[in-house]
Every structure is written in structure tokens, then in C-alpha cells.
Point group: C2
Chain length 117, copies 2
DNA sequence: GATACTAGTTTCTAATACGAAACTATATGA
DNA sequence: TCATATAGTTTCGTATTAGAAACTAGTATC
């Protein structure tokens, strides 16, 4: 009597969507980077580094490259005296606004939930 | 001329909330587990394992323990013939509904966005 | 007695993530 | 010339994550 539990296509698609999103955004810094760019608009490398308290330049550089590959941000080199590089969100990157809003809202709520035991 | 860029308290609080949430939910399986429980309601260990295609029992066990510690799920042992264990979301765990909905929605949209080049 | 189901645990290994420190290269100002 | 700023890269080491395989232990079925 094998109860082969068939998963509906829709459910599988939802789990895949969760995997895709989390693969892209998991980790310590990526969402913080995007959240900072959402607030700050166009920002330079060192501006980002200062805003993201504690990130190593290597990590910031790697994460920015990965986000660019996924078309969430753009990188623009400015031929200023010491060259500067401007990072900003693409239109697609800006669609993370709602999601990040939910993450912030839930995180703040969770903190009070855990604290009040 | 030091331009010390002061971060507002609100922004710092938001970055902390992002860190809290992501620390809890980062990784390959945790959100998939919660998403599955959101759809399936109360589920047993092996039901979860079968729904989450490919998860190792050790990982499932570890993640469930961690989620329980964070009061997102409850674990109930049933004294049936072969003992069964039922997992379900707490009320607090269910508040992840909106967030996971956003993750699914964004992931599906991102897929079409990347595919259509 | 052999097999299978329940819910895990144990052990070992490979892959990935993260971080600190030092370094590159160009340019400006004291 | 020395210090500082730009935007990173390189090297190295540790820590965390994930997975595969085998195993435990109780009960039930063939």
C-alpha cells in the first residue's frame, strides 16, 4: 500500500522559486547591500563600505560582482581625479523593495516576540 | 575635511533587522521547510522529508531543532504503533506567510526576468 | 527470520563563506 | 617626499554548511 504522495506542479514551482531567491540573497551581506542602495540611491564603493559596518573590501567586491551578474545592480566607472565607481540598483533590483520591507518588518517583530518570551 | 557620514538610528535598526531575519532563515532548506508547513499544516518527519526533495535526514533534523528553538515550529511526539512525530508552525511561525509569499513571487518574477534576457 | 517503516543519530568528507592583513596602482595635497 | 584617498586584488586561514553513507532502535508485516 504505497501512498506515493504526488506533489502538485504548483507546489514544486513554489519550492523552486524559494530556492532561486534564497540562493541569490542568502548570506550575510547581499540584502544589506541592496537595502543600503535602496535608501541611498547611487553610491560609491567606499560609501557602501562605510555604511555596511564591518564588511571586508573583498566581500563587498565579490558580492557586488555577483549582484551585477544577476542584473540587480549596475556598476559605472567615473573618470574623476581619483577614479570613482558608482553602484546603483537596476529597475529589476528595485523590485526587491517589497521583499526587503517584509524582511525588515518581520525581523523587528521577531525581536520583540523573542524578547518578551 | 572629514565627511563622517553618520548613519541614522533608524537605518542601523533596519540593517540589524535584516541581519536577524537572514541569520534565522539563510541556508538552503529552512524557508522551504516553513513554506511546506504553511501549505501542509501539521506534518510528520518523513512527510516533510518526502516533500523536500533531496534533503538529508540529518539536515532536516538539525533545521527543525533550530526552528523550534526560535519558536517558529512545535514538535509533538505521538505514541502510535511506530512512534510518529508531528511538526507544525506556531502562531509566530505563521507570521512568515507574507514574507515567504514575497519570496515566491519575487523568485518567479526573477526567473522570467533573467530568461527573457 | 528477513524486510520495512517510524524518527532520527553518527561519522566522515567536500564545498563554501567569511574575515584579517597586506598589497597594487593612480592621484592629490602638505 | 610622505600621507591619504580612490577601488579594489591577493593570500591565507578558519568556520560554517551541506551531503553521503551507515547505523540505531522499536514495532509490524511477510
Amino acid at each position: 500500500m504505497k501512498e506515493e504522495q504526488k506533489l502538485s506542479k504548483e507546489c514544486i514551482g513554489q519550492l523552486l522559486a524559494i530556492r532561486d531567491t534564497m540562493e541569490l540573497l542568502s548570506g550575510k551581506w547581499k540584502i544589506q547591500i541592496i537595502g543600503t542602495l535602496l535608501r541611498g540611491g547611487t553610491m560609491r564603493f567606499m560609501e557602501l563600505k562605510r555604511s555596511l559596518n564591518g564588511i571586508a573590501p573583498k566581500k563587498l567586491s565579490n558580492d557586488l560582482q555577483e549582484l551585477e551578474l544577476n542584473k540587480l545592480i549596475t556598476r559605472k566607472v567615473k573618470e574623476t581625479k581619483p577614479i570613482t565607481v558608482e553602484y546603483s540598483l537596476t529597475e529589476h533590483g528595485k523590485t526587491l523593495d517589497n521583499l526587503i520591507g517584509e524582511i525588515i518588518y518581520w525581523g523587528q517583530n521577531h525581536r520583540t516576540e523573542i524578547i518578551r518570551k
